[in-house]
């Protein structure tokens, strides 16, 4: 089978999975839908590998998609994203077989649509013309919307679905305008033609296209302030869908930016990079801050998605900024750093996909076992659900961006690019980059806080609710899905070298970032020891892991010092708690209390609504009968950016409604007035 047949295979499998899921008896539905989804994902991976290997030649179906025609093709960049999304789909698909089997999101329609959603996501990087791209882009949005609405009987799901629908359409409108303007100015519809014509476009057109597409793609990637749908929709979707969205779909927002703004539109002015950087930085900090104070496990993960996409966007921005600084005459430090930043973006995408997929699958497992997502009602799962706890632990370690986790390498590469760009970048870079470093560092720090909270409060200590007390592990399929994702986390954490061949193909395809001619910089070699082109930073995640392991062995050995003089360990002892009487589970720190210091530190940004009321006894104002404390956090960006817009629209709607109160005389008068005005203007 040649590479050109793979997209057809993908389509065929999707159809088969869809029809199969629609036809089989209910008992077999989860298995069929899950397996179908996994197979579609696997086909996507195959497509991606083929594309990375040699690329997939353009396939045209002129009759399909009226007035435009369908056009598919794939280069290595597409391949990278195909592999990424396909792999997430495989894990999520396997997981679905168990998850839906336990009665979660087991309605037929969502399960039938699951393979469609995956296929639509996979088709986006395969699309090679504007209309094809938009078609699959919007199909993906529609399929995911239907999946988000799977549990539509809950009002929260409907609200989330609505917000998602509107925001995603806003993003679509922006992308649509950007791409059609691009296509019109370039006089071509295929991506190849766009790329060729891009250099000749007027700066105004290029700017318009850039802004529109960044807004559109940014909303898909959850960039502030267009992120509002993400922390609503991702948590409300069934968990395997959350995983697909958070670990798969958001990446396509980044793909859009890479494909259209970095690849096709070509190298841009410096402010493009700065704009991406600023948007990414704001997103990263805002997302992680919200994650750090969130108490809903899936919402926390969703905000973390926003945060990580922000970091990727920062990396892309840094890359673009440095490339614009570097020039193409000779290899420069800035050029080298740009390549490192781009590498950081891709590596982080993979790392994020792995840990976020795992995180959502584990959260789904918790949800399936307890029916709760509220961290304040969880706890103590480590004993009842060891597999899930381990899985979430691995995911959280990755999300922390700490060594040994799969999120570390991307962040490390990003910081390296910043370090090595500073001396070569000129004044602007010298002013921007240190701040960026601060932002990245703050993001990493707060990310640690968020994940410690999620893992520590959610899984450790004692259960805070009956549901958590009764939790049981899901079946083997769920464990297998999580295992696959955990494996990916592990491999990416210690051996990023697996990405090296792919990056070696992808980076040269993006000369707008990696430079051309003499200025071209090779892809970094992610060997056992990471060495970067043109810079001297080195780090070895694998050896670090070995080092820590050795350290643990040594420490363990050290505990044997004087061990013979010790009595046997006292297990199951009562807690000391500074001598307090046996503390109950209610006395534990909750997620809310855990995050309270951070909330206070950042209350200028988070603006919590705090109500604190003390009711004293009537006898004395110093004797407290009861005290109530209530604190609620809303998304500040929503109230700052969205409320005024919504208010303006409502006000305008009220005006128009007042003008349509049913009086035919008024109606005729509008017409008559319109006529007179039109005639006067026409003269």
């Amino acid at each position: 089978m040649s590479a050109a047949h793979l997209p057809a295979l993908l389509g065929g499998l999707t159809l088969a999975a869809c029809l199969g899921a629609a036809a089989v008896p209910r008992r077999a539905l989860p298995g069929v839908a899950g397996a179908g989804t996994a197979l579609v994902g696997a086909a996507g991976v195959a497509c991606g590998v083929a594309a990375l290997d040699r690329g997939i030649e353009p396939i045209e179906l002129a009759g399909a998609l009226p007035l435009a025609g369908l056009r598919l093709a794939a280069d290595a960049t597409s391949g990278l994203f195909l592999v990424l999304i396909g792999a997430v789909a495989v894990a999520a698909g396997i997981y679905t077989a168990g998850y839906a089997g336990r009665g979660h999101g087991s309605a037929r329609t969502p399960l039938v649509l699951l393979p469609v959603f995956v296929a639509a996501m996979l088709a986006v990087p395969l699309a090679a013309s504007v209309t094809t791209f938009l078609f699959f882009w919007e199909l993906m949005a529609l399929a995911s919307l239907a999946l988000v609405l799977a549990e539509q009987r809950r009002p929260a799901v409907r609200e989330a679905g609505l917000a998602y629908a509107v925001m995603t359409h806003l993003g679509f409108v922006a992308v649509l305008v950007g791409l059609v303007v691009f296509a019109a100015a370039a006089g071509a519809e295929e991506f190849g033609g766009l790329g060729e014509a891009a250099a000749g476009l007027s700066p105004a057109t290029r700017t318009a296209v850039f802004l529109c597409t960044v807004i559109g793609f940014g909303s898909k990637a959850g960039l502030v302030p267009l992120h509002a749908w993400l922390p609503r929709a991702h948590p409300e979707a069934p968990s395997q869908v959350s995983a697909l969205m958070s670990a798969g779909m958001v990446n396509l927002g980044i793909y859009g930016v890479v494909r259209v703004d970095l690849d096709l539109l070509g190298p841009g002015p410096r402010w493009w990079g700065l704009a991406l950087l600023a948007a990414g930085a704001a997103t990263a900090v805002y997302g992680v801050l919200q994650a750090a104070v969130a108490t809903d496990l899936k919402r926390l993960l969703a905000y973390s998605t926003s945060e990580n996409m922000g970091l990727v966007c920062v990396a892309l921005g840094v890359a673009a900024l440095l490339r614009a600084t570097a020039g193409n005459d000779e290899p420069t430090a800035a050029g080298a750093a740009a390549v490192v930043a781009l590498t950081a973006a891709f590596v982080h995408l993979f790392g994020h996909a792995a840990f976020k997929c795992l995180g959502f699958l584990a959260a789904g497992s918790v949800l399936a076992a307890t029916g709760r997502r509220d961290l304040d009602a969880l706890g103590g799962l480590a004993r009842r659900m060891p597999t899930t706890t381990t899985a979430f632990g691995i995911a959280a370690l990755g999300a922390c961006g700490l060594p040994l986790g799969c999120g570390f390498i991307g962040e490390w590469l990003l910081v390296q690019s910043l370090v090595h760009a500073l001396p070569a970048g000129g004044t602007l870079v010298a002013l921007v980059l240190p701040l960026t470093v601060g932002v990245v560092a703050l993001t990493a720090g707060l990310g640690v806080a968020a994940m410690v909270k999620a893992f520590g409060v959610g899984f450790l200590a004692r259960p805070r609710s009956e549901e958590a007390e009764r939790a049981v592990e899901g079946g083997p399929a769920m464990a297998a899905g999580m295992g696959l994702a955990a494996l990916a986390c592990g491999v990416l954490a210690v051996a990023p070298a697996v990405l090296s061949p792919a990056l070696g193909r992808v980076l040269p395809e993006l000369p707008a970032v990696t430079g051309q001619g003499a200025g071209a910089v090779p892809a970094p070699d992610l060997d056992t020891v990471l060495r970067l082109p043109g810079t001297s930073g080195a780090m070895s995640p694998g050896l670090l892991a070995v080092g820590v392991a050795v350290g643990i062995v040594v420490a363990l050995a050290a505990t044997h010092w004087r061990a013979r003089r010790r009595p046997a360990p006292l297990r199951d002892a009562p807690l000391w708690a500074c001598g307090g009487a046996a503390p109950t589970a209610r006395m534990q720190y909750t997620a809310t209390s855990f995050a309270e210091p951070l909330q206070r530190v950042f209350d200028g940004i988070l603006r919590p609504e705090v109500e604190f009321a003390v009711t004293p006894y009537p006898q004395s104002s110093y004797l407290v009968e009861r005290a109530s404390y209530r604190s609620r956090l809303r998304d500040v960006v929503e109230s700052v950016f969205y409320r005024p817009v919504l208010r303006a629209i409502s006000a305008a709607a009220a005006v128009v409604r007042r003008a349509h109160q049913g009086s035919i005389h008024a109606y005729l008068a509008y017409g008559a007035l319109g006529l007179v005005v039109a005639l006067l203007v026409a003269m």
Binding site: P66, L67, F135, V180
Partner: protein
């Protein structure tokens, strides 16, 4: 310019059938009353129109054919519009059988009124076919005014106070608007006669070919006057501001199949006439003149539609304002005026007709079940009737311009066309307004469709009633993925108009 030639007998028949078949069906209903058989005869007449349209589309190429003397004329545009009429009419008449059956069963209507309904629906179809196929702009005008007359009692079919009110507003506002179109026609005729002095005989001064031929010689000042009047006049019937005010009332009060026809076809037929005018106007005044007018009216219509959708509480009115929104979008597409934009416009017309037919027919079922068209009275539809709710949802997805349905292809085509024409700013504004409408439609549909079942009635759908809906959704889906030869016809028609 390609030649207009006289049609072969077979093709002449294809041009006469769209007029004759509904008239015959009307006669049949008149003679035998409304029953299943005559209902299916109406469906057959509509299907015959569809087939005729298809035959014309496949044969007409980029030329034009005349028949019945110089009275009828068919080019690619007329063929596409005949297809639109036929397609939507097939669904609507098919849906009428179940709808009227239920109304008769519930005692909402009498056999006498059902008979009137059957006659008028077929007459309505015939007048629309005439409006599309007539050679003379004056006759087109007569036909379009005829549609108002034919639909007046259809809108008032239920004979409730609200229906009478809606009918009155409909008749008066549309008649006034269309009178302006007549005025515009007269002024255009004056200009044409003046320009054609010595060129052709004046009797055909309103024939499409003549007008196109003399267009470059028309007096610009007089033509400007005529075009403004024609724009506002036919714009009335197409639902464009400022004479858009009849639309929601009429659509919400008319029986569901009639709403489907009015929304899906009638507006488009009136709009098509504007496209004919546009060809003349562009030749006489340059593309900028009518473009400005269309943009202003289109955007104004979009504003009104989007903002009225925001607080809408009635699902039939919601669908009506959605039609308004789509007409606004069509106006923007027409303003763009490139071949692609025009082809996309026509695809949009067809797709919108199909989608609206499905939605109005489903809404009719909801209305029959709940006795009200308030969204608040009919919540959780999907839970109470998965088939009906699913079809409504599918229709809505199609209507919102989401893939894989045909409106997606047409909207992208319109966007590309508008960008090609350098109207990116107008496109952006239009799409933002469409977004507001999208948000409002989604909000109301979520309220209507989703949520727990509550204590409303179960919404079972008989197979015969469901069939036209399923066919409509399927047609929209197929069109969205693969247009086949229709794509070429659309492009040809677009070429004629650009």
């Amino acid at each position: 310019m390609t030649a207009t030639e006289s049609a072969s007998p077979a093709l002449a028949a294809a041009m006469i059938v769209p007029l004759a078949a509904p008239l015959a069906a009307a006669a049949l209903v008149g003679a035998a009353g409304w029953r299943r058989a005559t209902g299916y005869a109406s469906v057959l007449a509509a299907a015959a129109t569809l087939v005729s349209g298809a035959v014309l589309a496949s044969e007409v190429g980029d030329g034009a054919l005349t028949a019945a003397g110089p009275l009828l004329r068919a080019d690619a545009l007329a063929a596409v519009m005949t297809i639109v009429i036929g397609a939507v009419a097939t669904l609507a008449t098919w849906g009428s059988i179940g709808y009227l059956g239920a109304e008769l069963a519930h005692g909402h209507t009498t056999t006498a009124r059902a008979r009137t309904y059957g006659i008028l629906v077929n007459l309505f179809l015939a007048t629309m076919a005439l409006a599309v196929l007539a050679n003379n702009l004056g006759v087109v005008w007569v036909a379009i005014e005829g549609t108002t007359i034919a639909t007046a009692f259809l809108v008032g079919h239920r004979n409730t106070p609200a229906a009478i009110e809606a009918t009155w507003k409909y008749v008066i506002i549309c008649s006034v608007g269309i009178a302006l179109a007549f005025l515009g026609t007269v002024v255009l005729y004056f200009a044409s006669v003046d320009a054609a002095a010595g060129m052709t005989d004046t009797a055909s001064g309103l024939d499409i070919d003549t007008l196109v031929a003399v267009a470059p010689h028309l007096d610009p000042d007089v033509t400007r006057l005529a075009v403004v009047l024609l724009l506002l006049g036919y714009g009335t019937k197409a639902g464009l501001a400022p004479f858009h005010t009849w639309l929601a009332d009429a659509h919400s009060q008319a029986p569901a199949p009639v709403s489907a026809l009015m929304s899906g076809v009638l507006l488009a037929v009136a709009f098509t006439t504007l496209l004919r005018v546009k060809v003349v106007s562009d030749a006489a005044l340059g593309t900028g003149y009518l473009r400005t007018g269309l943009l202003v009216l289109g955007l104004a219509t979009l504003v009104v539609a989007a903002l009225l959708l925001v607080g809408q509480r009635d699902y039939k009115r919601m669908l009506a304002y959605s039609s308004l929104e789509h007409m606004g979008l069509l106006a923007v597409a027409a303003a763009a005026g490139t071949e692609l934009a025009m082809a996309a416009l026509l695809l949009h017309v067809l797709a919108h007709g199909l989608g609206k037919a499905v939605l109005f027919l489903s809404a009719g079922q909801l209305q029959l079940a709940h006795g009200s068209t308030a969204i608040a009275d009919a919540r959780g539809v999907l839970a109470r009737g998965p088939l009906l709710g699913g079809l409504f949802a599918a229709g809505l997805v199609a209507l919102l311009g989401l893939p894989p349905f045909a409106l997606f292809a047409s909207e992208v085509g319109i966007a590309r066309g508008a960008a090609d024409a350098g109207l990116a700013w107008a496109l952006g504004a239009a799409l933002l307004l469409v977004l507001v409408a999208f948000a409002a439609l989604t909000r109301h549909s979520v309220d209507l469709l989703l949520g727990p079942a509550g204590d409303g009635p179960r919404l079972a759908l008989r197979p015969a009633t469901a069939a036209p809906l399923v066919v409509g959704v399927a047609a929209s889906l197929v069109l969205g993925l693969y247009a086949g030869p229709l794509g070429d016809v659309l492009t040809t028609a677009g070429g004629l108009l650009s």
